[in-house]
C-alpha cells in the first residue's frame, strides 16, 4: 500500500469554553491519497471543520499526528508551518473570505505575494500576474478581475476563492462547506468545478459538508460523529 499524501492519525482536540473542556475530536483519523476527492460529512459540532483545520496546520492537535508524504508536520515550527500552508495547502471556506479591500485579481495574487518578498515579487511580477490571470480564466471570471468582492455574486466569490486557493499550485485543497452558502444550482456549478479540477489536475481534495447530496459527489465519504469516524463509505467513480 502506498503512503497517503496526507494523513491525520488519532487526532484528539478539545476547546475550552470558559472553565469547561469541550472535546471536539476524540481520536479521529483520515487518510487521503494523491488525486483523491474525499468528503467528510457530519452534523454541526461533530468536529469536521476542526479536523480540516488540524490537517491544514491552522490548528494543532492535542494528541495525534499529521503526516505529509509520511513526514510528521504538525510539530514543525511556526515558520515551516506558514510555508507549508502557503505551498502545499489551499483553503476555501463557506463564506469565501476574500479580502474586501482588494480587487479579485489582487485577491488571487495574494498567496504568491505572501510567498515572495517585495523584491522577489518585483522580479516575478509578470509571472505572478499571469498565473493569477490563468487561474481566474480557469474559474471563468476573467471579465471581473477589477471588481471588489462586494461587487461579485456568491458563486463568483467562491470561484474567486478557489482561484486564490489554487494559484500557488498546492497539492491538497481543503474545502470547508464550499457550497454551504450558495443556492443549489450555483452550488452544483462549484462542485462541477471542483470535480473537473480533481480529474484534470489530479488535485487532492478534502471537502467538509453536512449535505449528503454534495458529499455523495466525492470519491469517498467519511462520516464523523461525536469526534470519531463512524463509517467510511467508498463510492464508485460512477
Amino acid at each position: 500500500m502506498t503512503t497517503p499524501l496526507i494523513s491525520a492519525e488519532a487526532i484528539t482536540k478539545s476547546y475550552y469554553k470558559g472553565q469547561h473542556k469541550v472535546p471536539v475530536l476524540q481520536g479521529a483519523g483520515l487518510k487521503a491519497h494523491r488525486g483523491e476527492f474525499i468528503s467528510v460529512i457530519g452534523q454541526s459540532g461533530s468536529g469536521k471543520s476542526t479536523l480540516l483545520h488540524v490537517m491544514g496546520l491552522l490548528d494543532s492537535p492535542d494528541v495525534g499526528e499529521v503526516l505529509l508524504d509520511g513526514n510528521r508536520i504538525d510539530n514543525l515550527n511556526q515558520k515551516a508551518r506558514d510555508q507549508l500552508r502557503n505551498h502545499v495547502f489551499g483553503f476555501i471556506f463557506q463564506f469565501y473570505h476574500l479580502l474586501p479591500e482588494l480587487s479579485l485579481l489582487e485577491n488571487v495574487m495574494t498567496p504568491l505575494m505572501i510567498r515572495h518578498s517585495i523584491w522577489g515579487y518585483w522580479k516575478h511580477r509578470k509571472e505572478i500576474r499571469d498565473a493569477a490571470m490563468n487561474m481566474i480564466q480557469q474559474v471563468g471570471l476573467e471579465h471581473r478581475i477589477k471588481h471588489r468582492p462586494s461587487e461579485l455574486s456568491g458563486g463568483e466569490m467562491q470561484r474567486g476563492a478557489i482561484a486564490r486557493a489554487l494559484v500557488g499550485k498546492p497539492e491538497i485543497l481543503l474545502a470547508d462547506e464550499p457550497t454551504g452558502n450558495l443556492d443549489a444550482s450555483t452550488g452544483s456549478g462549484i462542485m462541477d468545478l471542483l470535480k473537473s479540477l480533481n480529474e484534470n489536475q489530479q488535485l487532492t481534495i478534502v471537502m467538509v459538508t453536512h449535505d449528503e447530496s454534495i458529499a455523495a459527489q466525492a470519491h469517498r465519504t467519511v462520516r464523523l460523529a461525536q469526534g470519531r469516524i463512524q463509517t467510511v463509505a467508498r463510492e464508485d467513480a460512477a
Partner: protein
C-alpha cells in the same frame, strides 16, 4: 509585498484612519507654529536686550564709580583691544523722575535707572538711532503719520529738534503769561519764585541750578548773545519776562532721552475707538531727575533737565525705567566730574564669539572685587533662562498633545484590528507569518504618521508664513485686534522657523504613531487563525 499593498489599501479605504491623520497633523502643525512664534519672540527679545546693553558691560561695584574714565578705557583697550569694536563710558545710577501731566495737572514720580551717556559713543555700541523717536517715522497700519524729524546722517546730539524748540517756546510763553497774571493778582511782598515752582508745568525748584544750566546752554549753543541777567527774580516783571522770552526757551544744561513707557499711556481714541499712545511729556518739556551724589555719605541731588527725545527699545523693562542723560552733566551733579569718574563701560565686540576670551583678559587687568565684567547674557541671565524654561515647558505640553493623538491612534488601531480579525485569519491561512501580519499594522502606523506629519508640517509652515495675514483676517472677523502691535511692540508677529525643530517634531510624531501601533499590531499577529476565521 502583500503587506505594502494592504497597508496602502487600508490607508486609502479606512476613513476612520483619517481621524488619526488629522490628530497627528494638528499636533504637528500646532507645535511648529507655536515653536516658530516662540522662537521669533525670543530672538527678537534677545536682540532688543542685547542691543540696548551692548556685548560686554564692565560695572563698578560702588555707585561712586571708578576714577579717570580715560585711563580705564586705555586699560581696556590695551588688554582686550583686539576683540573690541567700540566702547563708551557710562554712569548708571538709580534715581527718580518727576514730571507734570499737562492733561490732569498732576505730578508723577517714578523710579528710574539714570544712565549718563555720550550719545555718539552709545550709538557706536548699540543701535540707539533706531530707538530714538525723532529719527524714526511714526507709522500706523502701514501709513506714515509723521516723517522722521531728523535725517539718519545727523549724529545723535543733545540738541532739540525744531518742533521741540517751538513746543518749548510755546510752553514758556504760556507760563510767562500765567506767571504775569499770577504776580499781578498776588500781594507785592509775595516771593515770586515760590508760585513759579509750585504752579508751573515746568518745575524749576533749584534756582541756582537752573541759572547755571541756562548759562551753560547759552554758552554751548551760541545762537543768542549771552544775557547777563537771567535771574528768576526778574520773571515777576512782565516786561523783562517778555523781552527775555527767547532766552527762557533755551533748553537747560541737563538733557535727557526718556524711555517712552515712563511718560506715556494707552488711551482709547473716542472717535476711532483705537488705542492710542498719549505722551505726558514732549521733547522740549522740562522734568526733574533726582538721585544721589557720589560722595560719602551720598547726598540727595535734584537735576532739572530738558527732554530732548524719547526712545523705544521695544523692551518694556528698559522703556519704562531708563533715562539717558548727558554724562558730563550727570558727573557734575554727582560730583564726579573732577576725577572724571564713571560707573561702567559698555563694550561692543568685533565678534561676539570672542566674549569669553575678552572677559578673561579684562578680568586679569582689573583688580578683583572692584568691578563686575559680564556679557549681556549673563547680565540678563534670569530673564533669558526664564524664557528658555517657558519654551521647554510649552514644548513638553505640546508634545503631550501629540501623545494624546498617539492614544487616539492606539484606540482606532485596536478597532481596526478587531474589524480586520477575519482578514488576519485569512492571511494566516494563506501562509502569512505572524511577523508579516504585525508589519502590516506597524507600517500602517508609520504610514499614518508620515502622512499626518507631512500634512502637519505643510500646514504649520504655511500658517507661520501667512501668520500676519491670518491675524488680519481674524481681526477682521472678530472686529478687534488679535495681536496689538502697540501692546507687544511688534509691527508683525515675529517668527523664526528652525529646520531642526521641524524635523524633530515630524520625527517625534511619526515615532509616536509607530509606537501607538505596536500594541494593536502585536495583538493582530497573535490572533489564532481558526478563531480569527470564525470571528463574526
Amino acid at each position: 509585498m502583500y503587506k505594502l499593498l494592504l497597508c496602502i489599501r487600508y490607508l486609502r479605504t479606512k476613513y476612520i484612519a483619517l481621524a488619526c491623520i488629522i490628530s497627528v497633523m494638528l499636533g504637528v502643525a500646532t507645535m511648529i507654529v507655536v515653536n516658530s512664534v516662540m522662537a521669533g519672540f525670543t530672538t527678537e527679545m534677545r536682540d532688543r536686550l542685547h542691543n540696548f546693553l551692548s556685548d560686554i558691560v564692565i560695572e563698578s561695584r560702588s555707585m561712586s564709580g571708578v576714577e579717570d574714565a580715560k585711563r580705564q578705557m586705555a586699560v581696556v583697550d590695551e588688554v582686550a583691544g583686539e576683540y573690541i569694536a567700540a566702547m563708551t563710558p557710562t554712569i548708571e545710577i538709580p534715581g527718580m523722575i518727576t514730571f507734570t501731566d499737562p492733561y490732569s495737572g498732576e505730578s508723577y514720580t517714578s523710579p528710574v535707572q539714570i544712565q549718563g551717556i555720550d550719545p555718539v559713543g552709545k550709538a557706536k555700541v548699540g543701535p540707539l538711532q533706531d530707538y530714538l523717536d525723532s529719527y524714526n517715522p511714526v507709522m500706523e497700519d502701514g501709513v506714515v503719520l509723521r516723517e522722521a524729524l531728523r535725517s539718519r546722517d545727523e549724529p545723535i546730539s543733545w540738541n532739540l529738534t525744531r518742533s521741540a524748540q517751538e513746543h518749548r517756546a510755546m510752553i514758556k510763553e504760556r507760563e510767562s503769561l500765567y506767571l504775569h497774571d499770577l504776580t499781578t493778582d498776588t500781594e507785592p511782598e509775595f516771593d515770586a519764585t515760590t508760585p513759579a515752582a509750585t504752579n508751573s508745568a515746568t518745575p524749576e525748584f533749584d534756582v541756582t541750578d537752573s541759572k547755571a544750566a541756562s548759562e551753560k546752554a547759552a554758552g554751548s549753543e551760541n545762537s543768542e548773545p549771552t544775557p547777563g541777567i537771567i535771574q528768576d527774580d526778574f520773571i515777576n516783571d512782565p516786561i523783562v519776562a517778555d523781552q527775555n522770552s527767547s532766552v527762557k526757551t533755551r533748553p537747560l544744561a541737563a538733557r535727557i532721552f526718556l524711555g517712552e513707557g515712563l511718560v506715556s499711556f494707552q488711551a482709547q481714541n473716542p472717535e476711532t475707538g483705537k488705542l492710542q499712545k498719549v505722551m505726558m511729556v514732549e521733547p522740549g518739556d522740562d522734568v526733574i531727575v533726582s538721585t544721589v551724589t557720589a560722595g560719602r555719605p551720598p547726598e540727595p541731588v535734584r537735576i532739572s533737565a530738558t527732554v530732548v527725545d524719547s526712545f523705544r527699545s521695544g523692551m518694556n523693562e528698559y522703556d519704562t525705567s531708563i533715562v539717558l542723560m548727558n554724562i558730563n552733566e550727570l558727573q557734575k551733579s554727582r560730583g564726579m566730574h573732577l576725577d572724571n569718574s564713571i560707573t561702567s563701560i559698555h563694550i561692543k565686540l568685533k565678534s561676539y564669539d570672542d566674549a569669553e576670551k575678552a572677559i578673561a583678559a579684562l578680568e586679569r587687568a582689573f583688580p578683583p572685587g572692584q568691578v563686575t565684567i559680564r556679557t549681556w547674557e549673563e547680565k540678563q541671565g534670569l530673564l533669558l533662562s526664564a524664557v528658555e524654561v517657558e519654551t521647554a515647558i510649552l514644548n513638553v505640553l505640546l508634545f503631550l498633545i501629540i501623545t494624546v493623538a498617539g492614544f487616539g491612534i492606539l484606540a482606532i488601531f485596536y478597532m481596526i484590528v478587531v474589524e480586520k480579525t477575519r482578514d488576519i485569519g485569512i492571511l494566516k491561512s494563506l501562509g502569512a507569518s505572524s511577523n508579516g501580519v504585525m508589519s502590516i499594522f506597524l507600517s500602517y502606523g508609520l504610514g499614518l504618521g508620515i502622512v499626518g506629519s507631512t500634512a502637519g508640517v505643510v500646514i504649520g509652515l504655511l500658517f507661520v508664513r501667512y501668520i500676519n495675514q491670518i491675524e488680519d483676517f481674524l481681526s477682521w472677523i472678530t472686529g478687534r485686534k488679535v495681536f496689538d502691535e502697540k501692546i507687544y511692540y511688534f509691527f508683525e508677529i515675529p517668527t523664526s522657523v528652525s529646520p531642526l525643530m521641524v524635523c524633530s517634531v515630524a520625527i517625534g510624531a511619526i515615532s509616536i504613531a509607530v509606537l501607538a501601533s505596536i500594541l494593536p499590531a502585536r495583538r493582530a499577529s497573535r490572533l489564532h487563525p481558526v478563531r480569527a476565521l470564525r470571528f463574526e
